[in-house]
Amino acid sequence: MGILDVQDISLNFGGIEALNEVSLSVEPGELYAIIGPNGAGKTSLLNCISGFYRPDKGDLLFEGKNLLRFRPDQIAKLGIARTFQNVELFANMNVIDNMLLGRHHHFKSSFFRNATMGYLSQEESEHRHRVEEILDFLEMEQWRKHLVGSLPYGVQKRVELGRALAQEPKLLLLDEPMSGMNLEETEDIARFVIDIHQELGTTIVLIAHDMHVVMDISERICVLDFGKKIAAGTPGEIQKNPEVQKAYLGEEYESVMEGGTGR
């Protein structure tokens, strides 16, 4: 049994079947990628795991606990962090504050305690130190005090990754971390994802569109198409799978699968 077990999940929006009996299992310490064409249900699946959506059928187990019994904030507390496809940050707060927010669950003293018995600055400075370590890790020192709204999109994505890391998650869900980025930014993020995986040992579930990067960095891949899981396996197996080739028809098959042109 893995750290995350998705068992026969189905999700419907009215008549539309977003997910149809999808099952997958992520091993601890793994870099697992979910790919598929537009509208395949990748983000829906991620939203089910993080508690945004409630699946109509099936079970979600994280370290043996059934996630369907928890609210999104409780799921975060269990050790699941995520980033969003379209950056969801507090635009009028600076980078440090956005990342400190990620440490919300690690603060021991409550708002009430701070209001009545004096503010625990010692605790905040410990958390600030953790945030600084992540800033160092993601090489964001130069933007420390910048308002997030004023930063370029690629950097905002990095801040969001930083906020997720600040949660010190056991499982990190990344929703298209490379979307909308130029080649250099994509390479940077890919390197950070590898570093997080190797240095911090975090289990990562990665949704991506950019096949080239996914084939390079992930250990196992699951392919969704129209809400159904059509294939799963190592990058090598996926490349050869005829089902996958069919799902991607319309795009130039060779360049996509072999990573010929890459992007």
Partner: protein, 602 residues
């Protein structure tokens, strides 16, 4: 106590200052202080560690990385062991790094992070003498199994054990040093050919320090920000030699991208920058002012002329009238002080521009702000500084008078010759080039210049770069190029015209500022290329060129120019690691554009 080698001077300072702050490094957003004692401990342990790993007198090591305290530890540790440290530019691609590491016959290479390690590993097979790759930051290297890789701490730990068994060993090793031993080797940037390794002895450096201290005093209260590449002799002087001699504090920026922010926290008192950085600073102020609110713009327009007037009066050593003093005081409070603060130069007591020629217009701008930037000139081959304008004795457009101990004369063909007691030992493995450079005790600098009646040196250009037009007129391209680069929209300019009828130029736009300019005018663009090809941008640059042309004689004006549609890059071999132009490569690469400028009839 001996003071004739750098490690001895270092140990003297350690004894004198003990627990005072020697270095500061920003880590996790906080400035971490390193005392002289700790500095010494790191150097001692690293030195003994390297010796345990096989470093002996006369060996070479390479240091490949950004400025960090570990860079200095490695440098001084190598010197203490009687070995020689060579700096490799962190921006060097693997092939160039291989050249320096291989040519210097380095047995160790000290890398700062994964990026540099990867580059070394790529060329490892062509470096038979290399024994160890010592890494300062092991992040990302967990899965590297190469037995050559060892962490900086591990080497220090080895040295620590040796030190515990025999605490006097380090000091005995240092005492074996002789003043004539080679202390460091600096590879020249190589605008024309492969880089050459200039060897500087302890005696060279000590003599230079003694001479320089007479005119450019540095005190133990001075603050320095180390951010230019330490492989270059200028930054080596700033971050290592001068502070060892004076006890000043060296601050290391958090990363290359945060230098401007860190400057505002440190406010260095002793500051060196290359012309490119001064130009950038000036452009940033000008462009920001164009964006500022109405009130701020008005204040700027009202106060700058007062600053300019003050600068003129001061430079001419004229008496300052009372009304100017009052006006200047107001301008200082309203504007100048804030600009100085914004640039991080509020406390700059001594600001130096060097390593390449700078346009007098840029210097004048800073003088108007009240930052008295002085221009100096020197060669790696004579340990750094040869002539320098001194605070209170500045003439813009010249590089000042020779510092004590330096003698200059102009050869018949205009080349500047230099004689002093700190001329380098020679080029590593290249006696031929050494003999060509030092003749009868005179150093042939390769620069062309004149000495004015006050004894100040004025540099015309590099000897090899002088343009002779088909009309027989000698023209110094760098003067025109620097004038063009005063424009906030021009990043790089290359003036051409050797053997041609008229001058032309290749211009690279300053992407950030031109992009802003285009946005304000709703000119659509997507990339650098599309911006550079835009006809409106061309027209705008044309005005800037015409503006610059006004300052020159008819033959020296740029008649035609083209905008480069790519940014010149070190990786593409168009610039050296110090961002100096490699004219040959550029001329070859863009020959079709150049020919086109000369072929069309219009």
């Amino acid at each position: 106590m001996r003071e004739d080698t750098l490690p001895h001077i270092f140990l003297g300072k350690v004894k004198k200052y003990g627990n005072r702050v020697a270095l500061r490094e920003k880590e996790f957003g906080v400035w971490q202080e390193i005392s002289w004692n700790e500095y010494c401990r790191h150097v001692r342990h690293f030195c003994l560690g390297m010796m345990e790993l096989g470093l002996s007198r006369g060996d070479h090591i390479s240091i490949f990385g950004e400025n960090e305290p570990e860079w200095l530890y490695a440098d001084l540790a190598a010197q203490s062991a009687g070995a020689v440290a060579v700096g490799v530019y962190p921006t060097n691609p693997p092939a160039e790094a291989k050249y320096v590491i291989g040519h210097s016959e380095s047995i160790f290479v000290v890398c700062d992070d994964q990026e540099q390690v990867d580059k070394v590993l790529e060329v490892k097979n062509e470096l038979p003498l290399l024994k160890k790759i010592i890494v300062m930051d092991m992040k990302g290297l967990r899965n590297y199994t190469d037995p050559m890789i060892i962490s900086f701490e591990a080497v220090e730990e080895i040295g620590h054990k040796v030190d515990e068994n025999d605490p006097e060993m380090y000091y005995r090793t240092v005492d074996q040093l002789k003043p004539e031993d080679v202390a460091i080797m600096v590879y020249t940037s190589g605008t024309t050919g492969p880089p050459k390794g200039a060897m500087l002895s302890h005696d060279n450096v000590v003599q230079f320090l003694n001479n320089a201290a007479q005119v450019i005093p540095q005190y133990d209260t001075d603050e320095i920000v180390s951010y230019l590449p330490l492989c270059h002799v200028a930054e080596r002087i700033m971050s290592v030699f001068l502070p060892l001699n004076s006890g000043a504090t060296v601050n290391f920026a958090e990363s290359v991208d945060t230098v401007t922010l860190d400057m505002k926290e440190i406010f260095p008192t002793f500051y060196l920058a290359v012309p490119r950085i001064w130009e950038k600073m000036m452009a940033s102020v000008i462009v920001k002012m164009k964006d500022a609110t109405w009130l701020k713009r008005k204040v700027y327009q009202a106060c700058m002329p007062i600053g300019e007037k003050m600068a003129e009066v001061r430079l001419a050593h004229q008496p300052i009238s009372l009304s100017l003093r009052i006006k200047y005081g107001l301008a200082y409070l309203l504007l100048l002080r804030h600009l100085k603060k914004e640039l991080g130069l509020l406390r700059a007591r001594f600001a130096l521009s060097g390593a390449a020629p700078i346009a007098p217009e840029v210097l004048k701008y800073f003088h108007s702000l009240g930052i008295k930037v002085v221009e100096g000139w020197g060669m790696t081959e004579e340990t750094g500084i040869g002539t320098c304008n001194l605070p209170g004795d500045i003439k813009l457009g010249t590089v000042g008078k020779p510092i004590p101990g330096v003698e200059i004369k102009i050869a018949e063909d205009g080349e500047i010759l230099l004689k002093c007691n700190h001329i380098f030992v020679g080029y590593w493995k290249d006696p031929e080039a050494t003999a060509k450079t030092i003749r009868d005790g005179w150093l042939y600098t390769g620069d062309v210049g004149v000495i004015d009646e006050e004894g100040r040196l004025k540099i015309t250009d590099r000897k090899k770069e002088i343009i002779i037009t088909s009309g027989g007129k000698n023209i110094a391209p760098s003067e025109i190029e620097n004038r063009l680069k005063c424009s906030p929209y021009i990043n790089e300019a290359i003036v051409l015209g050797d053997g041609r009828k008229y001058l032309t130029a290749l211009i690279q736009i300053e992407y950030d500022n031109v992009a802003k300019w285009a946005q304000e005018r709703s000119i659509p663009y997507t990339t650098f290329k599309s911006l550079a090809q835009n006809p409106e941008v061309y027209e705008m640059i044309k005005q800037e060129v015409n503006q610059a042309n006004k300052d020159f004689a008819q033959v020296e004006t740029v008649k035609k120019f083209r905008l480069l549609d790519k940014e010149l890059d070190h990786d593409d071999d168009e610039l050296t690691a110090t961002l100096k132009l490699r004219r040959k490569t550029v001329n070859k690469k863009f020959s079709h554009i150049i020919e086109e400028m000369y072929s069309t009839k219009s």
